[in-house]
């Protein structure tokens, strides 16, 4: 992917840029809001990573301007301080995801991958597929190899998220935010307990194994084509 990073803190910018480059992405850098806006308008990037606090033009305003110009490039916001409703205002301004510094690099990589998959135009799907797994989004029912699997509502949502992000690592935080809408970290590991039950229902008795644990990072629904 071609990624534009708009970040005024040199060290952070260098860190992210070098890390993502190692993952195989093409990186462009901008050090302030106006420069960032100019580069973004050239529409050469597949993804924008924008720090909220920038000199000359702050991140929120930058994205608002892009959205006003009907630019739908996915945007990931970075911020050093998370006030109670910063996330909401960021997403309302047109951002697609939100990360608070400091973050695990693996978290950034996973979210970048998830955003990169986002199709340019939002298609309304009624079914999701992964290998021999089929999710009917209308009836909320799941079949694998033709056999129905009974899932709890929460389990269905987890599976849906995994399938939408198939072959990408999905971190615990991403699951908490998207499936549970918890924007904090509970000390009890509800993600793990749900995932282990889900994995039993979805993978046990079936081949191949679809749901994998990526140690230290999260989970992945892997489909080998």
């Amino acid at each position: 992917m071609r990624i534009l990073i708009v970040e005024d803190d040199g060290e952070t910018a260098e860190l992210i840029a070098s890390g993502l480059a190692e993952e195989g992405h093409e990186i462009e850098l901008a050090g302030d809001g106006l420069d960032g806006l100019a580069r973004a308008r050239r529409k050469t990037a597949d993804l924008l990573i924008i720090d909220r606090m920038l000199p000359n033009l702050d991140g929120l305003s930058l994205v608002a301007k892009l959205r006003a110009d009907r630019d739908e490039t996915p945007v990931l916001f970075l911020t050093a301080m998370s006030r109670l409703h910063d996330r909401v205002t960021g997403l309302e301004a047109g951002g697609d995801d939100y990360l608070v510094k400091p973050f695990e690099f693996a978290e950034l990589v996973a979210r970048v991958a998830a955003l990169g998959r986002r199709p340019r135009r939002m298609l309304v799907e009624t079914t999701l597929k992964a290998a021999d797994l089929e999710l009917d989004l209308l009836t909320r029912r799941v079949r694998r190899a033709g056999r129905e699997i009974l899932l709890q509502p929460r389990e269905f949502r987890i599976l849906e998220y995994l399938v939408r992000n198939q072959n990408n690592t999905v971190t615990r935080t991403m699951l908490l935010e998207n499936v549970w809408e918890y924007h904090f970290d509970p000390r009890t590991n509800i993600v793990e307990s749900h995932l282990s039950r889900l994995r039993t229902k979805v993978d046990k008795g079936f081949t191949p194994e679809l749901i994998h644990t990526i140690r230290g990072t999260g989970y992945c629904l892997r489909v080998h084509n």
Binding site: E11, A80, F184, P186, T188
Partner: protein, 433 residues
Amino acid sequence: MLFAAFFCAAVLLLFGITYIYATKYATQGEIAEIEVEFARMIEEARISQYAALPDMIAKRLRERGSEHSFYLLQDRFGHKLAGNMAAMPPIEGGVRLNRPDKDKKPYVVASGHTLENGDFLLIGEDLVLLEEMDAVLIRSFGVSIAATVLIALVCGLLISRNVLRRVASVSATSRSIIAGDMSTRIPLRGVDDEFDHLAKSVNDMLERIEDLMQHTQQVANDIAHDLRTPLTRLRQRLDRARRRDPADGAHHEVLDRSIEEVDAILNTFTALLRIAQIQAGGTVSSTNPVDLSQLLESISEDFVPAARDGGRSMHARIAPHLTVNGDRELLTQMVVNLLDNAILHSTPGAQITVTAQQIAGAPQIVIADTGQGIPREERAKVFRPFYRIEPSRQAEGSGLGLSLVAAIVNQHRASIRLEDNLPGLRVVVAFPS
């Protein structure tokens, strides 16, 4: 009331003293007059060597009548010689006597002296006028006192009602300040009286307290913010070093542990700042109705698998249609924190229950566990930031979990109390109706 009583007592005292002095003065005046008469009679009788005295007495009694004038002449042996009084032991000077006809009032003021020839002469006057003056005085005093009492009562009532009203207004303002509304002030009446001065002083004090609080808040926020930045960098560098290091490198363990420590510090700061934000009323946009029943059902269900994995059982009994006004995100965090605690401070085999119902028109949540509980003397303290029951215990989390809960509870104007679940802990959160 007290004031009126005090006032009356003072007035009574005043009147009492006046009365006593008035009568005393009148009496003395009367006696003086009698002495004058006495001297005149003696002068007149001396010519006859006092032999004319009985006739003089008889004459006077005839002229004046024996109703109000009294005379007594007796010899040295105490035998009555003349007059309309009974013989008595001689006296010298002024005296007050009862009337001879005891069934009539008033008493008699008299003066008596022993004469040169050994006889004893006593002249007396009853104090009709004095008694009448007495009666008038008492009557007027009586009316005055009654009037005074009435006025004092009415005034007292008016004043105290006014005072009470001002005091009640101060009380009400104080209560709302204690409840957390630092912006209220005591209303001034604009009459520039003592109460207004008092109110103004208290308002100035409140202003200062509010300023100090905001200043302290700001200082804490600035500290946390300033320390977050270098810590963030530190973590980023450690993260990068870890990534660049092959998994079996010697430094991997050290890096992992270091990152853990830095994360712990950062979590503490985040929690501190979050508490500060909540306390500062950062929940601006959010007094929306929240479906509490649905929120609790959903969270309880989420925790069941994790609880079971840890060998604890979890049950929920939630009454439907419970709503509160507030912030959904904060309420979620509050419930999750309390459930986290219930699981953390219990052992496998423990039971955790979540119940919610409407009590006296207000929703109430109870989260109970059969774990280790909190000793009674610790219960008030556990909401303090960083407070830990056993300081030696390896700290899990930032020690701010309950502080956060307390801040959220306050922000929703709810109350929280900790009770003994016999065994274990019962947490009761009661919302306002």
